[in-house]
């Protein structure tokens, strides 16, 4: 398997913790390079074919500004041949209207730029009202809810990474 870029903001706490768990789950046999989303650019982004993006949801369903400000450049990239998996954190109880919207927003942008999205997960077991990441019973990424289902994190991360090991090349 080619090396994987794991991009998330180093200023975050929960997202960074999940990223660390993801690295751990891949084990030593897979090269996972961590990059700070705060200073990502097109050149760095394009130098990987397997990418995992940590995309939390801000406000009532928006991308964090560090991702949002990268989007105009991201949209100009040709992402054909790249496999991108996205994880994000959400709170089903307090923000059920835009649960992990960030995942969905970023997936759409990457898809339009030609990327293949991997790492879809089954949405059963979650309770929410709406999500930009939800379609046909699935999330287009890994949804982590530390506040309400923190005890499921390890299992969900393990399962997702196992799946990615098959879907990444």
């Amino acid at each position: 398997m080619e090396k994987i870029a794991l991009i998330y903001s180093y200023n975050t706490r929960n997202t960074a913790n999940v990223a660390k768990e993801i690295v751990k789950a891949f084990g030593k046999s897979v090269v996972v390079e961590e990059l700070n989303a705060e200073d990502i650019d097109g050149q760095k982004f394009s130098s990987y074919n397997n990418l995992i993006l940590g995309v939390p949801t801000w406000f009532d369903g928006e991308l964090p500004n560090y991702w949002d400000e990268f989007v105009p450049e991201l949209e100009t990239l040709d992402l054909k041949g790249k496999r991108i998996a996205i994880f994000g954190l959400g709170d089903q109880v307090n923000y059920p209207e835009n649960f992990v919207d960030g995942i969905g927003l970023m997936v759409n942008i990457c898809k339009k730029a030609g990327a293949e999205i991997v790492g879809y997960t089954d949405a059963s077991g979650y309770t929410f009202e709406s999500s930009a990441a939800f379609s046909g019973g699935k999330f287009c990424g890994l949804a982590i809810d530390i506040e309400n289902q923190g005890d499921l994190n390890d299992e969900r991360i393990e399962s997702w990474v196992s799946q990615l090991k098959k879907e990444f090349r």
């Binding site: 801000w58 406000f59 009532d60 369903g61 928006e62 500004n65 949002d68 400000e69 105009p72 450049e73 100009t76 923000y95 209207e97 835009n98």
Partner: protein, 693 residues
């Protein structure tokens, strides 16, 4: 096949065309936006200093965090075609729409040449009526009704323009906001309602306002309305959203809601301390998304500007603000003697009937016919007249009492139409429609009965302030007709009089005819005047033969002109409405039984009062009884009595006495009604007491 509801959802979820982006927008435009955003922030940040130095700006609602959407609203507004209702946080909106830094400061420190109001309205209420950037009340969200009314006018006059109406998300909880948007949806008017959602109504979080976190979702069930959600902190997303909203309103001719997600970086206003209810984490979180900082970063990241170029623009802003401050500080303050200027728009001046009296020629009419015929005559006279109200126009029905019968048949549904059962909407949209063109004259049947007018009080109060608040720049030209009073066995909600409350409001007129000719004359004057007139109709007299008179075809009664309905020398009764007839009957009875002659003065106009006529009758008879149907306590009579005491006390040979309703509601059972309302018996008793004094 998609259901109608699915189609609505599909329409509401359409992607907004991306006209603008950091990589595609012209540099010149990017520079203009940066200049405006830095200028706005400089003024917003500077505003508290004026308060600290006791110069002014004692109300300041900072806009920081709403930068994207406010810039966008101002940019899409075209003062030659559009109307704008900015709320009290819309500093950047109005700057972006064209106000200068000096105009912003002049409003902030309440100077005489503040273009919004000459220092009359609160600070941070930016407006420029000359450009259709409207001055209105501080009551949150009440401008939505005006906006729908202006949109209605655009539609009726086939005007190609859009109304922009801005508010915070919490004010959407106001009932009248629903009325406005429901009406806009029903009438398909070109109005863009913008909800600037910063998550708080002062300290009240969204979850305490409504169940939907995104309040625009509350309107998803309405037809003919598009809902666009955008990031109000982001310049490009906001610009694209507003351009699309304007396109839809203009070309598809239906309303749009733009829901802009913002942050409130500072407290609600200078009287709020947000650290009492927001923790450091939250405050850091919102500061991190400072829209201006984000825009600046984008300009640099995508190499549209160099740091030096941006610094130069920022310096230009500093120079502009310095100059504006200097100039505004040197501007004159409003003069105390100006307070009586522009209380109400000019009244129509009658050349032919300056005293509101005629020579007894004309056609014999009942009171109801006189109102109906005058409405029709004025609609023929002025094509810019409109009439609406509940129950007003369905085939042969013309109002609950058929006063406006035949109006829609003659003048068409474009000018005479039904309103929903929403009294605030009826009056609020009249206000808004009146803003479109000063020639427009609107008559509304304010409610089915005067008793039901209370929901419209919010709009009445705001409307009563308009002319004064705008320093004469906008006059709402509206006649509010209300079927009023009792003696019909109508009970608590079909028999009340509300004029005692109405006359306490400066900025409106209140008239209450008791005969057909005066009804015709006062209505004609109301419909030709500027300003708002409450036209109260004694419904018990609509078809009463005793209220029928000869009515000259062109009769006019000026405001503030009472009429002696019966000459006398032994005492005076000052009255109006239903009780005028009782007083005349009692006076006639006393004349024949006791040989005393009582003068009966019909006030006709309750605000303004005819001081001269009141004073003259007291001087003539030296005894005065005031009779009205409304409650004695808090009624018009109290004001009349005070006026007499102040001006002609020495002419009185007896205490001023009053007869009116008891201090109770009006009961439904006729026995109760009789015990409560004044009648000949009660008046006669008071008359005898006074004559014997």
């Amino acid at each position: 096949m998609a259901t109608i509801f699915e189609k609505i959802l599909e329409e509401q979820n359409k992607e907004v065309p991306r006209v603008h982006g950091i990589l595609t927008t012209d540099k010149e435009l990017l520079e203009k936006w940066f200049y405006l955003m830095v200028l706005g922030r400089a003024l917003d940040d500077r505003a508290p200093n004026y308060l600290k130095q006791a110069i002014g700006w004692s109300y300041h609602a900072p806009y920081a965090g709403h930068d994207g959407i406010q810039l966008a609203i101002g940019q899409v507004f075209d003062k030659t075609t559009d109307h704008l209702y900015p709320y009290y946080r819309d500093m950047l909106t109005t700057l972006s729409a064209g106000l200068t830094a000096e105009e912003i400061i002049l409003n902030g420190i309440s100077k005489d040449n503040d273009v919004a109001s000459g220092g009359r309205h609160m600070s941070n209420h930016f407006a420029k009526p000359e450009w259709n950037i409207h001055n209105f009340s501080s009551a949150t969200g009440n401008q939505t009704l005006h906006a729908t009314g202006t949109g209605r006018a655009m539609k009726k006059y086939n005007h190609k323009g859009v109304v922009f109406c801005s508010q915070g998300e919490s004010s959407v909880s106001e009932g009248y906001v629903f009325e406005a948007i429901n009406g806009a949806s029903n009438e398909k008017v070109p109005v863009v309602f913008i909800f600037q959602d910063n998550g708080y109504g002062i300290s009240v979080p969204k979850k305490d306002q409504t169940a939907n976190r995104k309040v625009s979702d509350n309107f998803r069930g309405l037809k003919n309305i598009s809902i666009i959600k955008c990031n109000g902190k982001d310049v490009f997303d906001s610009m694209n959203a507003m351009l699309e909203a304007k396109r839809i309103a203009l070309h598809e001719q239906h309303p749009v809601i733009v829901h802009a997600n913002c942050v409130r970086i500072h407290s609600h206003s200078n009287s709020d301390r947000h650290e009492l209810y927001r923790d450091d984490y939250e405050l850091n979180y919102v500061r991190e998304y400072d829209p201006l900082a984000k825009y600046r970063r984008l300009l640099l990241r995508y190499k549209r500007f160099t740091e030096e170029e941006l610094v130069a623009i920022e310096q230009r802003v500093k120079d502009t603000v310095k100059e504006a401050h200097k100039s505004a500080m040197a501007s004159p303050d409003p003069k105390p003697e100006s307070i009586h200027d522009f209380v109400i728009g000019p009244a129509y001046v009658s050349q032919k009937y300056p005293e509101g009296l005629h020579d007894g020629k004309g056609v014999e009419m009942k009171l109801i016919e006189a109102i109906n015929q005058t409405l029709k005559a004025e609609f023929r006279h002025n094509p810019d007249t409109f009439l609406w109200g509940q129950d007003i126009a369905n085939k042969d029905k013309g109002g609950i009492f058929n006063v406006s019968k035949g109006m829609q048949q003659e003048f068409g549904a474009e000018r005479v139409f039904n309103a929903p059962i929403a009294e605030d909407f009826i009056l609020g949209t009249a206000n808004g429609m009146s803003r479109f063109n000063k020639n427009i004259r609107i008559v509304v049947e304010g409610a089915e009965f005067a008793d039901y007018f209370w929901p419209a009080m919010e709009q009445l109060i705001n409307t009563s302030h308009d002319y004064w608040r705008s320093k004469g720049q906008f006059s709402p030209n509206i006649t509010v007709r209300l079927a009023s009073g009792g003696y019909i066995g109508g009970g608590l909600y079909h028999s009340q009089n509300i004029e005692g409350a109405l006359i306490t409001i400066p900025g409106i007129r209140v008239v209450y005819p008791s005969f057909a000719d005066d009804a015709a004359g006062l209505l004609r004057t109301s419909m030709r005047s500027e300003g708002l007139t409450m036209f109260l109709e004694p419904k018990a007299l609509y078809n009463a033969p005793k209220a029928a008179t000869l009515v000259p075809e062109d009769f006019e009664v000026p405001f503030g002109k009472a009429r002696i309905r019966r000459e006398g020398k032994d005492m005076s009764i000052i009255t109006y409405g239903n009780t005028t007839h009782m007083c005349i009957e009692v006076a006639n009875q006393v004349s024949s039984e006791l040989g005393k002659e009582i003068e009966v003065l019909d006030l006709r106009s309750l605000s303004p009062l005819d001081h001269e006529a009141i004073v003259n009758t007291v001087k003539k008879t030296n005894k005065v009884l005031i009779v009205h149907e409304d409650k004695v306590i808090g009624g018009v009579g109290g004001e009349v009595a005070a006026l007499i005491s102040n001006e002609v006390f020495e002419y009185l040979d007896a205490p001023i006495m009053r007869v009116g309703s008891t201090f109770t509601p009006v009961g439904f059972n006729r026995i109760l009604e009789k015990a409560i309302l004044p009648n000949n018996e009660k008046i006669l008793e008071a008359v005898k007491k006074m004559l014997n004094y």
